[in-house]
Symmetry: C2
Amino acid sequence: MPTGPLAFESRDQHRAWLEAQSRLPQGFRVGTCAFEFTPAEAAKPGRMNLALVALDEPTPAFGALFTRNAFPGAPVIVGRQRLDAARLGAIVVNTKISNVGAPGGVEAAERVCAEAARLLGRSPGEVLPSSTGVIGWRLPVERMVEALPRAVSALQARSVLPAAQAIMTTDLYPKVRRADLGEGSIVGFAKGAGMVEPNLATMLVYLLTDLRVSREELRAALAESVEASFNLISVDSDTSTSDTVVLLSSGRRAGVEPGRFREALRAVCRELAGDVVRNGEGVRHVVRVRVAGATDAASARGVGKSVVNSPLVKTAVAGNDPNVGRLLAAIGKYACERGLPLDPERLRLRLGGETLFEGGAMRLDPAKEERLVAHLRAAELYASRATRDGIFKPPVDWPRHERCVELEVDLGQGSGAAEVLGADLTHEYVTENADYRS
Amino acid sequence: MPTGPLAFESRDQHRAWLEAQSRLPQGFRVGTCAFEFTPAEAAKPGRMNLALVALDEPTPAFGALFTRNAFPGAPVIVGRQRLDAARLGAIVVNTKISNVGAPGGVEAAERVCAEAARLLGRSPGEVLPSSTGVIGWRLPVERMVEALPRAVSALQARSVLPAAQAIMTTDLYPKVRRADLGEGSIVGFAKGAGMVEPNLATMLVYLLTDLRVSREELRAALAESVEASFNLISVDSDTSTSDTVVLLSSGRRAGVEPGRFREALRAVCRELAGDVVRNGEGVRHVVRVRVAGATDAASARGVGKSVVNSPLVKTAVAGNDPNVGRLLAAIGKYACERGLPLDPERLRLRLGGETLFEGGAMRLDPAKEERLVAHLRAAELYASRATRDGIFKPPVDWPRHERCVELEVDLGQGSGAAEVLGADLTHEYVTENADYRS
């Protein structure tokens, strides 16, 4: 995940960087549009964005991973069927309503695909639907069908940025990352701010490449990259019903050596995963936990997730408060749930390079506490400020830097390791989610 | 858990009820004291309370359950050894420092027990230590030894309330429940507001009875009662390193039929467990989830816990926002983690008696939404209000009522059932935990 020197001093600086990231690989076009409507289940009107990603020619080289949530949305159900299709030609994404658990959800998704296919001269089975938003509400299908021609006429081959922007909901800024290699590139964009603890796949992520690659190699590379990126993050421990990661190759550029392709894809995924956490709902600190010395990688990942999902660790980080005993409780909780035999004598904990726990006991003093506070403050993305009504809103809509709260856990038992990214729990998160729909 | 008609209109009314609850069973005395000190690990001074519960005669009829967290505190380590002792004569409890993961923690706990034993004319192995507070800091042993005589001279046989009050930390009010049966009574008091998702035992809970009961029967009744009460609650999903439930019988009154004793003990435990959630840190709504139709009780409990621990469900409840799709995501998340095959067609969800999901789809409309909002508002314990600095503090220090947000989940698969109590996630929780130690 991003460890680079990226830091931005202004929205304009971030925007210029984003535009450079967003150059489309060969063989793709992107178009968007938006409209107002009133959902059947609600009293108030809302706004829906549509984003269309179209290949100049349908491709056999595509793959996708979806949520493992037991109640997947209709677009995920349809998407799983599309994996068997000979070719994919387009993706149509909508915001505002996730089309999960809604009556007639699959039919609604298919109808939108069919209309997009008709406009693009494709068959309906070559279009992948994708939705994000409120669970349980019905898609305004007729309004979407009415709007689609505007997205089609907006199609252009220069930049993915309009789509990255259109799929935002509570995201503060678009998330785009690229890798240039050989004669082509891999460009990914993501949406994801809340309900983020992906299991197998995450939120909505679209990866486009013009590098020639077989369907088999593409799918293997995608699975490996997702495992090493989106499956290692958590904003709020809630696994969405809509998580989707798609990779499409237009095959317009010569392929590269498979190892290089995988490495570049993994880098793009890890950077995007970092972006998803950094721009998570209410996130003021990104927390990176490096777990080592576990009996296996799964235990290492479990310990890391337990730490980043502990509300008490999360709130302590939010308050720049090195209340580090809470780390011990979080690790011990996971161990007791899973029956892991942990030895306190072998456990080592570090925060910002400072030793917290060693030789079976905490090692704390007032001077160290001051250094820990300084480390937490340096990783803060912005200072928290409430309005007079007690509403907390982030004051910036760009990522100021990529610094993390750096935690190290060594269980001293084996060679299992994992690196997990999580976030703090803030007033901004509560403001966002206690009245997100209103 | 409490479903009774309890409601209080003022602090005084609650206090009068508490005093009646607090009458001590025969054979027990309670004394407390407090002092100021500066922890070795901190720059700022703090205040420690000591509470002493003494039996007139040491008893063989005692039992205790402790946290399953893999890093238990020193008092838990010592307490487990005490279970083998012939008799128990006293409990000494301190606040402010939990004596978990601190260098020399076990020796410190033993030294405090030895001094209490000396003052009470007991042997050190007859005293059980108990601590709550910051993890990783060292007990100020000499200051505690110095203060103990004051707690001893404060011993009285009328009321448990001074102890219930002394063990409070972030609790807003003392928690005491009683059952009168036969010639005697069972009186329990509890401390617990944050880091509450007990596993086997919870926080600090002390149950006193004068009813004669054998050690074996007492321990069996305790295990069963804890399983049906404290193991079914969660304030914030964090399992503490200090959870402790102790039951002592002075044997001063004739015993009752074992079934009646168990029933009364279970009722006291369930009421106290409800109190712990109701007075959880920042809790503005208690959420009761009744899960039915699971393949077994463990799955039912798991589904219930997944719902009450979902940050997005919790924040929606905090905002009186029936964003009920989040329930579906929370249930589906648990099912995918545990590999439970769930059938959406058989799933039924209800909130406040209103059907949310049935026949494979959500059933929502604007009129129903209004009724759901009314149900959420009626269960609110107090309205949220921020100061001008964005600090959120509960405006009341008594429980206004015992109404809950009532959720029903029917998985339609078997006869496994469970009733889980949880809470919302509020600005008050973040205020409490982002700078609890300062």
